[in-house]
Symmetry: C2
Subunit: 334 residues, 2 copies
């Protein structure tokens, strides 16, 4: 039996092994991904992002517990950790979550360090999600620290994106909110037992009004270089992101949050946005693979010495980076 | 007189206009960049990054004031703001800084929103820096919110990277520190009049020991796809990042911080690391331009209908993204 078959049959050990192979970008992992791809497209992908200190991990925990206990769904969690590009490793996630969720065969948690290049991380996340999807997990939650563009870009490619806030995180964070609010399908005010929760909620409401223009344009071929994906089909009724209060450490508001997620799925299905988001996500992934493939071809076509020579002339300010790039791009067919 | 000549002559209005042209990626802007490039390579580039709430902007302010008053240097500040990819705009920065620095012809502040793709922002930042460098600014400070990989990548390409921390920002932020500590040349504990400053400093010291391996390998051609650039020449004496306490709102510790920066420049010059960093920065920029150029060529070679057709078969799970990318890459020569 191939590892793909084992995974389709629900073999947990085979799943764990394949995830590692795929994360290491091995040949075998890539082959399995291809075999599994036709079996994807069923899972509901939930992105969870928010600034540090908002209690995202604990919220994701509680949401997973809720789905296990109340809806009997199989849950996978991909936690993208902001740890070192050099040392790698997945520090957070697992440890914190072991207590509540370990031992449940229908929960699978995977942490990933944001090592190496951005493209690499986004690609690795997409691959993990596909494997969990093929393996029959009903819900795949991708959790990122939403303070940087890269992490936000990863979370926004889900069907449903939760943006988590919390009272009392300081003014500087307001600026970040303005950016990530626009990708939110549901806003969560976690730690809602803290002072200042009304203020936070009010600020979010004000910003929501600013952040949600009345229409968005559907992305077409000519602009597929941009990662800025539309999240709403302009032809259908707008989804106004609800604001949900939670106290994740005590499980307060989790059932209501799960209800809001269910309503969002219904909206996506009825409006046609589900298909649009699926398409956008796959298009972004395809584009990243093409970019990477083009670079590999380029490196095969341009001798290392030629590249070094041109770089040298940039370093000595003889040609600008722009001219150098043009020289290398035009000269590679020879 | 061309706009490039006006800028070399110190014309502030011409500078402001060119920055806008370059930010909009206009033809004229690109031409000016090429003309100005031979005049670059003189400025000291300082990257300042740190989590939200650490008081980076105010610190950069004070540093700029110090350089103006005590060292009579010309200062440019590029503030990369974490605002919306949709609405654009540069919200923070300017407003806060106007009081102390406005009216001084030897200070120029430019805010940039992290709109659009990551590559675009890094490229736009590199272009701004080159223009300021050519325009004769002695010091160019690039300030980013160092909570995401993208922002960290931008800050790390400076000659000297400051990582700013502050006491009492919560546990979640510790995880981020682990990642950005490794790019720090100087650690700043700002808001050092707050309780918990000893704890923060101690934690930083412990993490510094973990974060600084004894040697790093110099990047060579074969691996130039990676943005992970070395910051230290393994053949020379290591630079151990000092920890500097500041209270930027009151100007405390700023002179000492400026001294540490001066020592770092001396270290870079004597060790040869200055040249290595220059080279790495230009190499990263060249690579980004090549990647972009390759994608533009690809789009010219693959008809939109063909691309849509292949994407369609991915959406319908007939071929995996990997296979689709391979088909498009191999088919484009026809």
């Amino acid at each position: 039996m191939t590892s793909s078959q084992a995974i389709l049959n629900g073999d947990r050990l085979a799943l764990a092994r394949l995830l590692t192979k795929v994360e290491n970008n091995s040949q075998e992992g890539r082959a399995a991904l291809m075999e599994l791809f036709p079996h994807t497209g069923k899972a509901h992908l939930i992105g969870v992002t928010g600034a540090p200190g908002t209690g995202k991990s604990s919220l994701v925990n509680q949401l997973a517990l809720h789905y296990r206990k109340k809806e009997d769904k199989r849950i996978a969690i991909v936690a993208v950790d902001p740890s070192s590009p050099f040392t790698g490793g997945a520090v957070l996630g697992d440890r914190v979550r072991m207590r509540d969720l370990s031992g449940d065969p229908n929960v699978f948690i995977r942490s990933m360090a944001s090592r190496g290049s951005l493209g690499g991380l986004a690609q690795a996340t997409a691959n993990m999600v596909q494997i969990f999807d093929a393996a029959g997990f009903d819900i795949v939650i991708v959790e990122t620290v939403g303070a940087g563009q890269s992490e936000v870009d990863i979370a926004r490619l889900a069907h449903t994106t939760l943006v988590v806030e919390a009272p009392g995180l300081g003014d500087d964070i307001q600026a970040i909110k303005a950016g990530i609010l626009e990708i939110a399908d549901i806003l969560v005010v976690n730690k809602a037992d803290r002072p200042g929760v009304e203020h936070t909620e009010k600020a979010l409401k004000t910003m929501l009004e600013l952040a949600h223009p009345t229409e968005r344009v559907f992305k077409h071929h000519g602009t597929y270089m941009s990662v800025a994906a539309p999240k709403t089909n302009a032809n259908t009724k707008m989804w106004i992101p609800p604001i949900q209060r939670t106290v994740s450490t005590e499980g307060v508001g989790i059932a209501e949050l799960a209800d809001a997620i269910t309503r969002h799925v219904a909206h996506l299905r009825s409006s046609g946005d589900w298909a649009i988001r699926e398409r956008t996500r796959l298009e972004v992934e395809l584009e990243a693979l093409i970019r990477n493939g083009l670079m590999i071809q380029f490196q095969g076509e341009v001798p290392a010495e030629r590249y070094e020579e041109v770089l040298e002339s940039v370093v000595h300010r003889k040609v600008s980076p722009w001219e150098a790039a043009t020289m290398l791009l035009n000269g590679r067919q020879k």
